[in-house]
Symmetry: C2
Subunit: 155 residues, 2 copies
């Protein structure tokens, strides 16, 4: 997998969460994902096509996403509801859009589908890509989340 | 939402499950999805771009997908494991590919990302599209599943 396709999305996640929600995110060490161990309570999934075909997932624990969305909207959200899910969709669109703009500046053209938001305690995500799947853990003051990107051959 | 974009995917789901897995599927009445009531145990999500930007989700109960995959692979699968998840990814790619071929014959060109498979008891799916979200319930002898398609403006 071309790391040049991944880094712009990680930079975008950091930039969007900082500027939109005032949340500092600290990226951890990326690793190749061999199984589905990462579990989350809310995930956003978005399909990507263009020079490569793939998918990006943002996988949040409940505590982390409630902290981020409360900070984003300036209001306390004690539990996951439709407002929280819509905010996750907006954030994902912004992160994906920002990542695509960074890639376009490097000469790569990608298109994105619309985000799908999954809610459910301890669900797991498996990318069905024919290439490797990269996972990057992020830390925030509200807890951890994971960005996963998988690309395969365009089709 | 242009129903012309949806019908080929429903025909494809019926065709692929019948020819590949020998499973008869009976489509129910499509409805516009206003909330996230449909819950599943295994879902496949795939992003779509091109003349429209959107996402398709196949949402299965555990009983239904185990029946379908056991029939597809000719071996009994009593619980959800990576083989089952990969089979769901393959089926989703086939359904999406078949749907896109049908659309191409009608003059519509769409690209697809790679499927993402979500596992987790009773998770729910929310499409973050700026257009309506259509849900179609299907019945099989193994139980029910749902096909959901949402399209928005291309971006």
């Amino acid at each position: 997998m071309d790391i040049a396709l991944i880094n712009p999305f990680l930079a975008a996640a950091k930039h969007v969460l900082k500027t939109m929600a005032g949340v500092d995110v600290r990226p951890g060490k990326p690793f190749l994902k061999k199984d589905d161990l990462a579990k989350g309570d809310v995930s956003a999934i978005i399909g990507i096509t263009g020079v490569a075909s793939g998918s990006m997932a943002l996988v949040f624990t409940e505590k982390c996403i409630l902290g981020i969305v409360s900070s984003l909207l300036g209001e306390s959200y004690p539990k996951i509801n439709d407002d929280v899910r819509d905010a996750v969709g907006e954030l994902t669109n912004m992160i994906c859009g920002d990542g695509r703009r960074r890639l376009a500046a490097d000469g790569f053209s990608l298109q994105a589908g619309v985000p799908t938001i999954v809610s459910g305690k301890d669900h797991s995500i498996r990318h069905f890509a024919d290439g490797p799947r990269l996972a990057v853990p992020f830390e925030t003051d509200h807890g951890a989340f994971m960005v996963e990107v998988a690309f395969g051959k365009p089709h």
